[in-house]
């Protein structure tokens, strides 16, 4: 395994670790203010790079593309991981999970004459 690959892997692990720490901090900070979009963009790029670096050394990942030249195979695999991670947009995923009011339900008051006053 080349020194270049090991370096890429180490940087990937370090960045992933720091992003994990930042993510946990944001979750437990007890502040309802959303993370600024600019910061989210930075997180996405760094996470995508870190994920790509991490994936470059995965054996299963390498063997998947064994038909090609080794250098091209590693670069192609890491690039694919970068694109996949970068394409995932966490704010959109979170918004989709947001609980919303139920759909309006039309109801009838059965005993309209005897209802009280408000």
């Amino acid at each position: 395994m080349s020194n270049q690959l090991i370096l890429v892997f180490i940087f990937g692990v370090i960045f992933i670790f720091f992003l994990l720490v930042i993510g946990v901090f944001i979750l437990v900070r007890g502040d309802d203010k959303p993370v600024p979009a600019a910061a989210m963009f930075i997180f996405r790029v760094v996470l995508a790079l870190a994920g790509a670096g991490f994936a470059a050394i995965l054996p299963g990942f390498l063997s998947l593309q064994a038909k090609f030249a080794e250098v091209a195979l590693q670069a192609g695999g890491a690039l694919a991981v970068f694109i996949v991670i970068y394409r995932i947009n966490p704010p959109v995923l979170i918004e989709r999970q947001l609980v919303k009011p139920e759909s309006p339900e039309k109801r009838e008051i059965r005993d309209g004459n005897n209802r009280g006053q408000i």
Binding site: E102, S103, E105, K106, I109, R115
Partner: protein, 201 residues
Amino acid sequence: MALIPKLANVSWITVEVETAAGFRLHGFLLYTMSDHFFPEYITVDGLVDLEVWSGDKFAIFIVHSPSEKWIEYARTKKHVWWKAFSSHFEGKPEMLELLQKYGSVPLLQAGDVKKTMREVFAPPINEYLHGDEIARILSYFELEPTQHPCLVLFKNLNDTSFWYVGMGDMVNMPLQDLRTSLKSWFAGSDFKGLLKEAEDA
């Protein structure tokens, strides 16, 4: 939008609002003080948001003690709420002015406890009375006492049909998520559909 300091006022304010402002649709946003974080949201940003989102065709009623800022805003803008409540409101204009200037000044002292002018003149609503009033409105619409928080929408208070929008799953949502969710609802097709249906009726 209107806040109701005392529920006995609901009937007459509805009549006045309907005739004076021509709202097409009315509704109650019903929550108790334990439906976190609805009361917290209304106290902080909710009034401003609902005032904007509800528009000029929808009158939303909230059982909540009005803040001084709201009263001042309503008075300055000659808001429908002010028109309806000003003659019945316990605080006369002179009193409101005094509260603004000297609200934080201790007025009474009993033992070690000091009460400011604002506390002394605060509306007599606590979480128990508030819960009672929410229960009365739910009962009026033949809803279960547990069916809150919710939105109850109607064209006329005397109609026998109304729309129920449950919000039980939104209890304990963080404030920002709650705001986003409500904003999406008011901007969405459900609310617009109800407005159109009320207008066409």
